[in-house]
Protein backbone atom coordinates (compact mmCIF):
# COMPACT_ATOMS: atom_id res chain seq x y z
CA UNK A 1 0.00 0.00 0.00
CA UNK A 2 1.50 3.28 -1.04
CA UNK A 3 1.54 5.96 1.59
CA UNK A 4 -0.03 9.35 1.12
CA UNK A 5 2.00 11.82 -0.86
CA UNK A 6 2.63 13.76 2.35
CA UNK A 7 4.99 12.48 4.99
CA UNK A 8 2.97 10.58 7.58
CA UNK A 9 5.73 9.17 9.81
CA UNK A 10 7.56 10.55 12.80
CA UNK A 11 10.93 10.78 11.06
CA UNK A 12 11.05 14.58 11.21
CA UNK A 13 10.70 14.42 15.01
CA UNK A 14 13.75 12.24 15.61
CA UNK A 15 16.23 14.01 17.93
CA UNK A 16 13.60 16.60 18.73
CA UNK A 17 11.84 17.30 21.98
CA UNK A 18 8.40 15.71 22.00
CA UNK A 19 5.49 15.51 24.39
CA UNK A 20 3.65 12.20 24.54
CA UNK A 21 0.20 11.70 25.99
CA UNK A 22 -0.36 8.07 26.93
CA UNK A 23 -3.61 6.15 27.07
CA UNK A 24 -3.58 6.28 30.86
CA UNK A 25 -3.43 10.07 30.75
CA UNK A 26 0.21 10.62 31.54
CA UNK A 27 2.35 13.26 29.85
CA UNK A 28 5.94 12.29 29.08
CA UNK A 29 8.42 14.75 27.60
CA UNK A 30 11.76 13.80 26.08
CA UNK A 31 13.99 13.45 23.06
CA UNK A 32 12.65 11.09 20.39
CA UNK A 33 15.33 8.55 19.46
CA UNK A 34 13.37 6.01 17.50
CA UNK A 35 9.95 4.77 16.44
CA UNK A 36 8.32 2.10 14.28
CA UNK A 37 5.10 1.43 12.34
CA UNK A 38 3.26 0.48 15.53
CA UNK A 39 4.16 3.88 17.06
CA UNK A 40 6.44 2.23 19.62
CA UNK A 41 8.70 5.06 20.76
CA UNK A 42 12.19 5.31 22.23
CA UNK A 43 12.56 8.49 24.23
CA UNK A 44 15.77 9.64 25.85
CA UNK A 45 16.27 12.02 28.76
CA UNK A 46 12.60 11.82 29.45
CA UNK A 47 10.56 13.13 32.33
CA UNK A 48 6.94 12.93 33.29
CA UNK A 49 4.91 16.07 33.87
CA UNK A 50 2.42 15.44 36.61
CA UNK A 51 -0.53 17.83 36.63
CA UNK A 52 -2.44 18.63 39.76
CA UNK A 53 -4.96 21.21 40.88
CA UNK A 54 -3.17 22.03 44.12
CA UNK A 55 0.51 22.45 43.27
CA UNK A 56 1.94 23.39 39.89
CA UNK A 57 3.21 20.83 37.41
CA UNK A 58 5.72 18.44 39.00
CA UNK A 59 8.46 16.94 36.86
CA UNK A 60 9.67 13.41 37.51
CA UNK A 61 12.85 12.25 35.82
CA UNK A 62 12.47 8.94 33.96
CA UNK A 63 15.55 8.71 31.75
CA UNK A 64 15.54 6.41 28.71
CA UNK A 65 12.07 5.09 28.05
CA UNK A 66 10.43 2.81 25.54
CA UNK A 67 6.69 3.32 25.22
CA UNK A 68 4.62 0.68 23.49
CA UNK A 69 2.55 2.05 20.63
CA UNK A 70 -0.67 0.54 21.98
CA UNK A 71 -0.40 2.88 24.92
CA UNK A 72 0.17 6.11 22.96
CA UNK A 73 -2.53 8.68 22.26
CA UNK A 74 -0.80 11.82 21.04
CA UNK A 75 2.76 12.73 20.05
CA UNK A 76 3.30 16.48 20.04
CA UNK A 77 6.24 18.45 18.66
CA UNK A 78 7.35 20.82 21.43
CA UNK A 79 7.76 24.37 20.23
CA UNK A 80 10.92 25.76 21.91
CA UNK A 81 9.69 29.32 21.86
CA UNK A 82 6.35 28.54 23.48
CA UNK A 83 8.03 26.11 25.86
CA UNK A 84 10.44 28.80 27.14
CA UNK A 85 7.62 31.23 27.92
CA UNK A 86 5.69 28.57 29.79
CA UNK A 87 5.73 28.71 33.59
CA UNK A 88 4.99 25.11 34.52
CA UNK A 89 4.86 25.84 38.25
CA UNK A 90 1.89 28.12 37.67
CA UNK A 91 -0.16 25.64 35.65
CA UNK A 92 -2.81 23.90 37.68
CA UNK A 93 -5.10 21.39 36.05
CA UNK A 94 -6.64 17.99 36.54
CA UNK A 95 -4.61 15.15 35.08
CA UNK A 96 -5.91 13.97 31.70
CA UNK A 97 -8.48 11.24 31.76
CA UNK A 98 -7.45 7.82 30.50
CA UNK A 99 -8.51 6.77 27.00
CA UNK A 100 -11.82 4.92 27.27
CA UNK A 101 -12.54 2.61 24.38
CA UNK A 102 -16.22 2.12 23.68
CA UNK A 103 -17.33 3.76 26.91
Amino acid sequence: MASANKDTGLEYLVNQLISVITNDGRNIVGMLKGYDQATNLIIDESHERVYSTTTGVEQHVLGLYIIRGDNIAVVGELDDEMESTLDLTAIKAHPLKPIQHGA
Binding site: K6, T39, V74, G76, E77, I99
Partner: protein, 93 residues
Amino acid sequence: MLFFSYFKELVGKEVTVELKNDLAITGVLHSVDQYLNIKLENIKVVDEIKYPHMMSVKNCFIRGSVVRYVQLPVDGVDVEILHDATRREARGN
Protein backbone atom coordinates in the same frame (compact mmCIF):
# COMPACT_ATOMS: atom_id res chain seq x y z
CA MET B 1 -9.68 2.05 2.36
CA LEU B 2 -12.62 4.31 1.70
CA PHE B 3 -12.12 6.45 4.76
CA PHE B 4 -8.39 6.60 4.15
CA SER B 5 -9.04 8.04 0.69
CA TYR B 6 -11.72 10.27 2.11
CA PHE B 7 -9.46 11.77 4.76
CA LYS B 8 -6.71 12.30 2.21
CA GLU B 9 -9.11 14.58 0.34
CA LEU B 10 -9.45 16.68 3.50
CA VAL B 11 -5.75 17.48 3.80
CA GLY B 12 -5.26 21.22 4.24
CA LYS B 13 -8.67 21.76 5.79
CA GLU B 14 -9.31 22.64 9.39
CA VAL B 15 -10.76 19.80 11.44
CA THR B 16 -11.48 19.13 15.09
CA VAL B 17 -10.43 15.73 16.39
CA GLU B 18 -12.11 14.50 19.54
CA LEU B 19 -10.14 11.85 21.43
CA LYS B 20 -11.39 9.01 23.58
CA ASN B 21 -10.15 10.89 26.64
CA ASP B 22 -12.54 13.78 25.82
CA LEU B 23 -9.70 16.04 24.69
CA ALA B 24 -10.67 17.90 21.51
CA ILE B 25 -7.99 19.37 19.26
CA THR B 26 -8.55 21.73 16.33
CA GLY B 27 -5.93 22.07 13.63
CA VAL B 28 -5.14 21.95 9.94
CA LEU B 29 -5.06 18.38 8.66
CA HIS B 30 -1.52 17.74 7.46
CA SER B 31 -1.68 14.07 6.65
CA VAL B 32 -3.31 10.75 7.36
CA ASP B 33 -1.99 7.19 6.98
CA GLN B 34 -3.51 3.74 6.53
CA TYR B 35 -4.15 3.36 10.27
CA LEU B 36 -6.01 6.68 10.17
CA ASN B 37 -3.30 8.20 12.33
CA ILE B 38 -3.73 11.93 11.92
CA LYS B 39 -1.21 14.74 11.84
CA LEU B 40 -2.43 18.22 12.67
CA GLU B 41 -0.67 21.55 12.31
CA ASN B 42 -1.18 24.79 14.23
CA ILE B 43 -3.27 23.04 16.83
CA LYS B 44 -5.47 24.56 19.49
CA VAL B 45 -7.04 22.53 22.27
CA VAL B 46 -10.75 23.34 22.36
CA ASP B 47 -11.00 23.78 26.14
CA GLU B 48 -7.55 25.21 26.93
CA ILE B 49 -8.47 26.25 30.46
CA LYS B 50 -9.37 22.70 31.40
CA TYR B 51 -6.63 21.10 29.29
CA PRO B 52 -3.40 23.15 29.40
CA HIS B 53 -1.37 19.98 28.79
CA MET B 54 -0.55 20.80 25.18
CA MET B 55 0.06 24.54 25.42
CA SER B 56 3.56 24.38 23.95
CA VAL B 57 2.66 21.98 21.15
CA LYS B 58 2.06 23.39 17.67
CA ASN B 59 2.02 20.27 15.53
CA CYS B 60 0.99 16.83 16.63
CA PHE B 61 0.50 13.24 15.63
CA ILE B 62 -2.68 11.58 16.88
CA ARG B 63 -2.85 7.79 16.94
CA GLY B 64 -5.84 6.56 14.96
CA SER B 65 -6.84 4.16 17.72
CA VAL B 66 -7.67 6.98 20.16
CA VAL B 67 -9.84 9.07 17.82
CA ARG B 68 -13.51 9.19 18.74
CA TYR B 69 -14.77 11.76 16.24
CA VAL B 70 -13.41 13.96 13.49
CA GLN B 71 -15.47 17.10 13.04
CA LEU B 72 -15.32 18.14 9.40
CA PRO B 73 -15.69 21.48 7.68
CA VAL B 74 -19.11 21.90 6.03
CA ASP B 75 -17.60 22.03 2.55
CA GLY B 76 -15.56 18.90 3.27
CA VAL B 77 -18.50 16.59 2.76
CA ASP B 78 -19.85 15.81 -0.69
CA VAL B 79 -22.64 13.38 0.13
CA GLU B 80 -23.18 12.34 -3.49
CA ILE B 81 -19.58 11.25 -4.00
CA LEU B 82 -19.58 9.45 -0.65
CA HIS B 83 -22.81 7.64 -1.57
CA ASP B 84 -21.31 6.42 -4.82
CA ALA B 85 -18.04 5.38 -3.21
CA THR B 86 -19.81 3.51 -0.42
CA ARG B 87 -22.00 1.61 -2.89
CA ARG B 88 -19.00 0.75 -5.03
CA GLU B 89 -17.15 -0.55 -1.96
CA ALA B 90 -20.21 -2.58 -0.87
CA ARG B 91 -20.28 -4.20 -4.30
CA GLY B 92 -16.71 -5.21 -3.73
CA ASN B 93 -14.49 -3.19 -6.02
